[in-house]
């Protein structure tokens, strides 16, 4: 943990001098926390969700709409959006966890596309396909003024590290180990007296609210909210990120997000045929490595990295 603290200081120092790097780190905090939350669901609990973007989109729109009323302060809007996302997660989660295997995933996808359709049709509120226009106001609060890029950057990093620590606590706690049991052997868990459905719902809600938080940060970053925040491509991107980075290592999703962002940036800078190149790269990783980058690295590095409970291969 001390090391990560040092890393944070290094990152901040560097970012202050290079706006492009700061942009990259900002986007990494957004997509990194999004991917981390998704892996909590898929990697640790074994619930493969295809509709995770619904929380990201919900967070962005809820926060954006509240701020555009110009009557709400940022912390209040933040809290209200997170609370709203939690309510959404509980209601949808309760319905989805009743289904098993791939049907769970498909139902999450259905709900997400339903939310997307609502966003597109409710033009008077959401602006329809053009999203929230005119920018998101940022009134200062507690002496913090988010319209200054540096302050926003610091806040984003602080929140990100806080979330990483939080998720780390969760997965290392008895609750986290129960999730793993739910993933690997739900019948046994049930026999041991675990309320399996409640654990699944809890995981769903926690990951949903973290994803909503990522959505809020995104809406602040681009000063708007757009329908593709709740589109299936973002859910797909999330899955891509965790697979690229590795689902069995805690930091895998974050590394995966970083790789994804880097790839995307490099490919769009160098070629017009971004689909072709990205597709070939993906194929090589999937068919070549057959697991995420960190999974691969950890496995190669042998015993040193291996704590049996985290790095066991996940069977889905």
């Amino acid at each position: 943990m001390a090391l990560s603290g040092c890393l944070a200081v290094i990152v901040l120092a560097l970012a202050f001098n290079n706006p492009q790097f700061a942009d990259f780190v900002l986007r990494l905090t957004i997509f990194g926390s999004y991917a981390l939350s998704l892996n909590l669901l898929i990697g640790y609990t074994g619930l493969v969700s295809f509709g995770h973007a619904m929380f990201f989109g919900f967070g962005a729109y809820a926060f954006g709409l509240l701020m555009q009323t110009e009557r709400v302060s940022i912390p209040l809007a933040f809290a209200a959006s997170i609370a709203g996302a939690a309510v959404l997660a509980v209601s949808i989660g309760a319905l989805c966890i009743r289904l098993k295997d791939i049907y769970f995933g498909i139902l999450t996808l259905a709900f997400q596309m339903l939310l997307h359709a609502v966003i597109l049709s409710w033009v008077s509120v959401t602006g329809g396909d053009q999203g929230l226009q005119g920018g998101i106001p940022r009134p200062p609060f507690f002496g913090v003024d988010l319209s200054h890029p540096k302050q926003f950057f610091v806040l984003a990093c602080v929140i990100f590290f806080g979330l990483v620590l939080l998720v780390r606590q969760i997965v290392e706690s008895p609750f986290g180990y129960s999730l793993r049991m739910v993933r690997d052997n739900p019948e046994r868990a049930l026999a041991l007296g675990l309320a399996v459905q409640r654990y699944k719902l809890a995981a769903f809600v926690i990951s949903g609210t973290i994803a909503a938080n990522a959505g809020i940060m995104m809406s602040l970053y681009v000063s708007g909210a757009y329908p593709n925040f709740a589109y299936w491509t973002l859910s797909g991107d999330g899955i891509l990120m965790i697979m690229l980075g590795g689902m069995t290592v805690f930091l895998g999703p974050i590394v995966g997000a970083g790789i994804f962002l880097l790839l995307n940036g490099i490919i769009t800078r160098t070629t017009e045929y971004s689909g072709l190149v990205m597709g070939i790269v993906l194929l090589s990783v999937v068919l070549g490595l057959r697991r995420g980058v960190l999974d691969f690295v950890v496995e190669r590095c042998g015993n040193l990295g291996r704590a049996a409970l985290f790095t066991r291969r996940i069977e889905l």
Binding site: F21, G127, V222, V255, T268, L294
Partner: protein, 423 residues
């Protein structure tokens, strides 16, 4: 157990810092190389759509801008400094567009942004350049609110594209005479269900009804944008039996709609008004063009019927092997404004250029009277050529063209803005 996991943690931390360092090195390296190049060259960043269904928007925008830039560079550039266009694909996603613009400004050191994004991404770009203060010329977005709404407008952002409202006023005026001549009272709308489709359709009828109050919109149908199939819309239209149909469909969608409509003999039963039919790619793709479609001109080399326009089209065709379309001329003129401002002020500074562009009038083959003006109060172009006519199957494709009356357009636009609370 504890000992092993601690080692495991530090290994992971090491990996994370290694990854981060690699990332920084990569990005830093890229930034350094970009910085080295920008000494002499003036870079114009162009976020646009180069993939997917509207890829031709990006292609034509790039071509139009490049044509203007090549002409300027051939004449010596800005005191020997050449212009360089840096085009990048945002795939039409607003958050990606925002990222691309940031990258163009920060990493590629572009001094000016030529925003060739469609309307939703244009709003995202607007927010970025509002923050950075970079000069931005929107060359593709037709949404009126981008410049009309004072809350969205920015001092360093201009628009060089046709506007929904201008098109609709012109269309409404034109259609009104046919309402009287042919008694077209019962109308129906079939437009794509997104902001452009809704806005331009609503505006058209707002202005049509002002001139011809007997017009009644008896029904509407709103296919999804890029829908492959219009059967349910067509059968609904057949049931309602309107006398006239207004549609804001364009490009491939319009072609599909006409092809599928022909199967039902739809166009023998009503008169179609569509502002987007007169576009070379669309006209060449429709296999069986029904008679008597009324259309506004997106771009035609024969309207305005001047030598300057025809010459420009020929030059474009020769250079790029495809005919120019709407976005081609808009980007060309957008670049022209920037170039003229550079020539006038000798500067590349965003604020200086913005002050010069505001209120500027340039000579242009696409002007209604040979000139186009960048209006001061809302920083968008006026007096560009708009005309409506009847579509015919062969070149020049549009006949009986009636150019729009700009005095009327400006007056009605002002009234409408007052009603909306924009002024």
């Amino acid at each position: 157990m504890k000992k092993v996991s601690k080692l495991g943690a530090s290994r992971r931390e090491f990996l994370k810092s290694a990854a981060a360092t690699a990332a920084f090195a990569a990005v830093g390296g890229l930034a350094r190389s970009a910085r080295g190049q920008s000494k002499e060259v003036i870079k114009i960043g162009q976020p646009t759509i180069l993939s997917g269904r509207v890829a031709r928007l990006g292609e034509s925008s790039r071509n139009g801008a490049q044509l203007a830039i090549d002409g300027f560079n051939a004449a010596g550039g800005l005191n020997g400094r050449m212009l360089q266009l840096v085009t990048r694909d945002s795939k039409g996603r607003p958050d990606e567009a925002a990222r691309v613009v940031r990258e163009l400004i920060n990493t590629d050191k572009c001094s000016i942004i030529l925003d060739s994004e469609a309307s939703s991404a244009a709003f995202a770009v607007q927010e970025v350049i509002r923050q950075t203060g970079t000069l931005c010329m929107h060359a593709c977005s037709e949404t009126t609110s981008l410049t009309a709404d004072p809350k969205i407008r920015a001092a360093n952002a201009f628009r060089c594209a046709r506007q929904d409202i201008h098109d609709s006023i012109a269309g409404g005026q034109y259609a009104a005479q046919f309402v009287k001549q042919q008694g077209l009272k019962r109308w129906m709308i079939c437009s794509p269900d997104y902001a452009y489709g809704r806005d331009v359709s609503a505006l058209f009828f707002h202005f049509l009804k002002q001139n011809a109050p007997s017009v009644e919109v008896v029904s509407e149908t709103w296919p999804k944008l890029f829908a492959p199939d219009y059967t349910e819309n067509i059968t609904k239209i057949l049931q309602v039996k309107p006398q006239a149909l207004y549609s804001a469909l364009y490009g491939g969608d319009l072609v599909t709609f006409i092809d599928q409509g022909n199967l039902y003999g739809l166009f023998e039963q009503l008169t179609l008004f569509d502002p987007n039919m007169a576009d070379y790619t669309t006209l060449e793709a429709v296999k069986k063009l029904p008679k008597g479609i009324h259309s506004g001109d997106r771009y035609l080399s024969t309207f305005p019927a001047t030598k300057a326009n025809a010459d420009w089209a020929a030059e474009y065709q020769k250079k790029f092997n495809v005919p120019p379309i709407n976005w081609s001329w808009q980007n060309y003129v957008g670049m022209t404004f920037i170039i003229e401002a550079m020539k006038k002020t000798g500067s590349v500074d965003s604020k200086t250029l913005a002050d010069a562009i505001r209120g500027m009038t340039i000579d242009s083959p696409f002007g209604a009277d040979g000139k186009i003006t960048m209006r001061t109060e809302d920083q968008t172009i006026i007096n560009y050529a708009i005309g409506w006519g009847v579509i015919i199957p062969n070149a020049p494709y549009l006949e009986n063209i009636e150019p729009a009356n700009w005095n009327v357009i400006l007056e009605l636009e002002k009234d409408w803005k007052k009603k909306k609370g924009y002024i």
